[in-house]
């Protein structure tokens, strides 16, 4: 009797086991990839969510006229002579007084208590006073930043053990901070400043924000949009609709596909050599950053625009030519509008790619420490010519700082960056869905 089909022979069993193993490898590969994504995102979110919270001390600060307005005329110009150093003792004393008022006892000296306040706080108070000189002489309630270490207590970053080893704080300060928090003097609130404030120096991570970086990235995106989109569309139209098939267009084709794969850092070298050294544009300026990113995104935009143009069926072109339109008219009146959603989607994806790019920007000096908000235009520096930084570069910058509080800032900046990217991609997907056309 021949082998029955109803019983699986040994060899087939073995082969089926192999099949199952192979399938399991495939499935595990997918699981590994998804797990990597999950771990990556969780790690960033875990480290960074706390950047959106910040610890503040609510203090009633007496603003003595004899110290802050020695001339006595409430003229900001004269009052500006009192630097932040003059404000430090006032804030310190206010906090000491607050501790006493709450009936708390501590072994900390007044100086140590003062260290619980951010070094940035005196500048904040001074700015407020100079903006409104009439506050002098009154007792005003301020929400001032707590120091990075105290902030860390409420985010779990600073513990009793770590504080004992830390020269910048002490276990006693932690206890006091906790007591003040119970009394409602210290509070952790949503940190708007993180999006608006400029970067801060190494000693004051609690004050560091993304304001300049977001502005710089925005300027660069504008430059990229206004240069890469028209240039990309124009060159795609030429290559797709007009270009004769010859050596020159072949060269351009090969060129574009290779440019798309050139390492991004090479574009940074190009920017440094051509735009900064040769043409003497300003270092660290969004203009140069935007130009470099434009050249970098151009291949992406060209490739997707050409795909969009290609997907418009030839019958549309023929129809336009058939009623006597010129080739140029058929392209601009009919093909281009039909390809617009595809072009737009490709452009947004190109912009998203440019927004996250870091390496070339490091080389053109955007890694510098910038505290001034760059102006879009200034007579000395021209359009987008003022020194600035950018979101991803700010992340890099913060990873190079020694204070561990900057890790939280860097991760928070990443979350912000990812949210921007998410929005851009969502818009792209929406556009694709909304205007997708099947011919």
């Amino acid at each position: 009797m021949k082998n029955s089909l109803l019983v699986t022979d040994a060899r087939t069993k073995k082969r089926n086991a192999k099949e199952a193993r192979f399938k399991a490898y495939g499935l595990s590969a997918i699981i590994v990839a998804m797990l990597a994504l999950a771990v990556l995102l969780t790690s960033v979110v875990n480290n960074g969510m706390s950047a959106f919270q910040q610890t503040f001390i609510t203090l009633q600060v007496p603003l003595p006229a004899d110290k802050l307005d020695k001339v006595g005329n409430r003229d900001p110009a004269d009052m500006a002579k009192v630097t932040t150093i003059g404000y430090n003792p006032i804030l310190r004393d206010a906090l000491v007084a607050e501790v006493e008022r709450q009936g708390l006892t501590t072994e900390l000296s007044a100086k140590d208590i003062g260290e619980m306040i951010s070094k940035e706080a005196s500048a904040t108070v001074r700015d407020r006073v100079l903006a409104n000189p009439d506050l002098v002489g009154q007792t005003v309630t301020f929400d001032i930043l707590a120091s990075g270490r105290i902030d860390g207590v409420f985010k779990g970053r600073v513990t009793m053990e770590s504080a004992a080893l830390d020269g910048n704080t002490s276990p006693e300060a932690l206890i006091l901070a906790q007591q003040l928090a119970e009394a409602g003097v210290i509070e952790t609130k949503f940190n708007w400043n993180f999006f608006t404030a400029p970067d801060a120096s190494d000693q004051r991570p609690e004050a560091a924000g993304l304001g300049v970086a977001i502005l710089g990235s925005l300027y660069m995106m504008l430059v990229v949009l206004f240069l890469a989109l028209p240039i990309g569309v124009a060159s795609s139209i030429y290559l797709e609709e007009f270009a004769p098939k010859n050596r020159w267009t072949d060269l351009i084709e090969v060129n574009i596909s290779n440019l798309a794969a050139v390492p991004s850092i090479v574009y940074g070298i190009l920017g440094l050599a051509i735009f900064i050294n040769f043409m003497e544009f300003n270092q660290s300026s969004p203009l140069v950053g935007g130009l470099v990113l434009t050249l970098m995104t151009l291949p992406t935009i060209i490739i997707s625009t050409r795909a969009a143009l290609k997907s418009v069926p030839p019958s549309i072109r023929d129809a336009a030519l058939g009623v006597g339109a010129s080739k140029m008219q058929s392209v601009f009146h009919h093909v281009l509008p039909l390809a617009a959603p595809g072009i737009l989607t490709g452009t947004i994806i190109g912009l998203a790619q440019a927004l996250g790019e870091t390496a070339p920007l490091l080389l053109i000096g955007m890694v510098a420490f910038v505290r001034e908000y760059p102006a879009a235009f200034s007579p000395e520096s021209g359009l987008f010519g003022e020194a600035s930084t950018a979101l991803p570069v700010q992340v890099y910058n913060w990873t190079q700082r020694s204070d561990p509080a900057f890790v939280e800032r860097a991760s928070g900046a990443i979350i912000t960056l990812l949210v921007f990217l998410l929005i851009m991609n969502a818009v792209a997907i929406y556009l694709r869905r909304r205007f997708e056309r099947r011919w």
Partner: protein, 266 residues
Amino acid sequence: MEDMIHMDRAMSTQQDIKISARNVQVYYGDTHAIKDVSVEIDDKTVTAFIGPSGCGKSTFLRCINRMNDTIDIARVTGDIRIDNEDIYDPKVDPVQLRAKVGMVFQKPNPFPKSIYDNVAYGPKIHGLARNKADLDEIVEKSLRKAALWNEAKDRLDAPGTGLSGGQQQRLCIARAIATAPEVLLMDEPCSALDPIATAQVEELIDELRQSFSVVIVTHSMQQAARVSQKTAFFHLGNLVEYDDTDKIFTNPQDPRTESYISGRIG
């Protein structure tokens, strides 16, 4: 004369039934491609499926070795038995089934491997050869059977894709018979071949009848008449008529069969 026909009948009923299908329905999503087909296919016989394009010949053929399993939307109901064993039984491994029921496709589809490896592929995966010499022998025998040996013996290491269309198809046939199947399904095996190659393949099919049951789908009525003993005529998913080939071509019972073979529909 009458006696002759009678004897013929007697002979054919004597033959073993290799494949028996009962009430087979096939759906592709919502399209009903095979409608309640029942048929019995004899062993050591060539059976031809004919019918107009899209009538479901390939679909039915693919049911017999469960190639339809590979199409997500295809759904097969009914009962198909080979040697009286239900091939859609959950216990049946389609892999084992397909070793027993080989298939040759309409378009030659050699693997991008050497000629030798193409033919050796089946024996290797099914473990039919104990050693290299065995394998060499199987390859040679299969290539000889497929009438390709003389052309291919000096270039066994050349890629199979480098052969001509007709040679490629014979290679695919050699590949299929190398696994020593009991049934060979051929879906328009000659549609890519010139008349000489077609004649060779037909000769081959006739020879294969000694050892296998062969089912062949063809669009050529002459071919069906030449190579097959039984013919089934499909129309719009229905099996219209199934009988001895002579009978179908000389004396069809159904008017649809008659108009198809006389060239009026299809």
